[in-house]
């Protein structure tokens, strides 16, 4: 098969190759063959998309020569002044820096670019993640909030700010940011599930028992919405099962648990189905993350043990 076609079909099956090391590796191994093939000179939208993906994968796997070449061709085509190429160049420099000093100089360069053109979003995002790499989380959060004050419609930035607040233990702020994402993208089921997760986690650190059951109920609502929007969202079903289970444990013989129990049962059924189909390598069920499926299996087993005791 022609390599361009192969790469396109690979990317359509694995839309986010950076998530797993193995997909990044596979993609970056194709890079030298693609770069030396005649198809790499085609000037189509797809080719440049592939260049960008190859560049990211090669940087991740440490194939800096191929990455350099991809970057070279991208900047030849789109010019070094293109905001996107600038950000990719910065990414390359960050990845290949050997010392803290070099990273600081990359940071300085970002700041110079931003002084000239304060609206360069890709560079601003690079600057924020470089601040994070340098361990300056507080500065990163400050920079991100100022980015969001001038472009509050960027869902990616809200989601990132939420995860930064989460790492700092600021759960309320984290949930607020996720709610902002929902205002922009009301169908984002993974964000619904994420709000459920953060609500659950924040309730399990501190707070009294009445607050806890309330938080559990709140989390269940979010998980239920996420699986309503996507019928096979593993994290949503996992959260739903986990939190309904906790709620049943928290107030055992109340009589008002009919709905919670049926939700728990439904989530269990779905998880069992996912786990068994994934383990049998059934076609159309192989997209799940292996670690997540294992966690789901673990949760089901634990639950069964509790019942049999």
């Amino acid at each position: 098969m022609a390599i361009l076609k192969f790469l396109l079909s690979y990317l359509s099956v694995h839309p986010s190759p950076l998530r797993n090391p193995s997909t990044s590796l596979h993609l970056s191994q194709q890079a030298p063959a693609f770069l030396s093939s005649s198809e790499s000179t085609k000037d189509t939208q797809e080719t440049w998309l592939i260049y960008e993906q190859l560049l990211l994968s090669c940087l991740r796997t440490g194939d800096d020569n191929s990455a350099r070449l991809c970057l070279q061709r991208l900047s030849d085509r789109f010019g070094v002044d293109s905001a996107r190429v600038k950000a990719l160049t910065g990414l390359y420099d960050e990845a290949t820096s050997n010392s803290r000093g070099e990273l600081e100089s990359v940071l300085q360069r970002y700041q110079d670019i931003l002084k000239e053109d304060p609206t360069n979003m890709p560079i601003e995002k690079r600057r924020i993640s470089l601040l994070l790499s340098l361990g300056r989380t507080e500065d990163a959060i400050k920079a991100l909030t100022s980015l969001l004050s001038h472009s509050p419609n960027d869902a990616e930035s809200w989601a990132h700010l939420s995860s930064l607040y989460f790492t700092q233990g600021l759960y309320q702020q984290s949930i607020f940011c996720l709610e902002e994402v929902l205002l922009i993208l009301p169908n984002a089921y993974n964000i619904f599930a994420r709000i459920g997760e953060v609500t659950y986690i924040s309730s399990s650190t501190g707070a009294g028992s009445t607050d806890r059951t309330e938080a559990f109920e709140e989390a269940i609502k979010y998980f239920a919405r996420s699986v309503e929007l996507s019928e096979w969202y593993l994290r949503g079903w996992y959260g739903l099962k986990l939190v309904t289970g906790k709620l049943i444990q928290a107030k055992p013989s109340d009589g008002t648990l009919g709905k919670t129990e049926s939700l728990n049962q439904l989530a269990t059924e779905k998880l069992v189905q996912i786990v068994s189909k994934f383990r049998r390598n059934e076609k159309g069920w192989m997209g799940f993350d292996e670690a997540e499926v294992l966690a789901a299996k673990d949760l089901i087993d634990r639950d069964e043990q509790r019942f049999s005791q």
């Binding site: 950076l18 998530r19 991740r60 690079r126 990132h160 169908n187 996507s230 192989m286 799940f288």
Partner: protein
């Protein structure tokens, strides 16, 4: 194959009906309307052409319902329409990713799983 034949046939019919209509407009006074057979031929050819184009679609049809469609994406690809909000490529921490990869390749695929944030 059947769809191609259908498309060719319907195009021939359509051209023929256009030709007939043109002929009619030249040969008869303009006040009279089109003969019924030409009208019917035009309509039939257009309907057949629509069917032919739909049938010749080689791509798999996607589910109409949002929840089914995102469910299919999740189980087949592990990444739905909003996967980019989990991945956030714009904020890619490439140094951490490189370090993670170096560790993974040393373990030679032992822990082939990655943590999502």
């Amino acid at each position: 194959m059947a769809s191609k034949a259908l498309i060719s046939l319907s195009i021939l019919l359509l051209i023929h009906s256009c030709y007939s209509a043109h002929e009619h407009s030249l040969l008869t006074p303009t006040t009279t309307s089109l003969p019924l057979d030409v009208t019917i031929e035009t309509l039939v050819s257009v309907v057949l052409l629509c069917f032919g184009i739909v049938l010749s679609n080689r791509e798999e049809l996607k589910p109409i319902s949002w929840t089914v469609w995102s469910g299919v994406l999740e189980r087949e690809k592990g990444c739905g329409q909003f996967g980019y909000l989990d991945e956030r490529v714009g904020f890619l921490e490439i140094r951490a990713k490189r370090a993670e990869f170096a560790k993974w390749i040393k373990g030679a695929g032992e822990g082939s799983s990655s943590q999502k944030t």
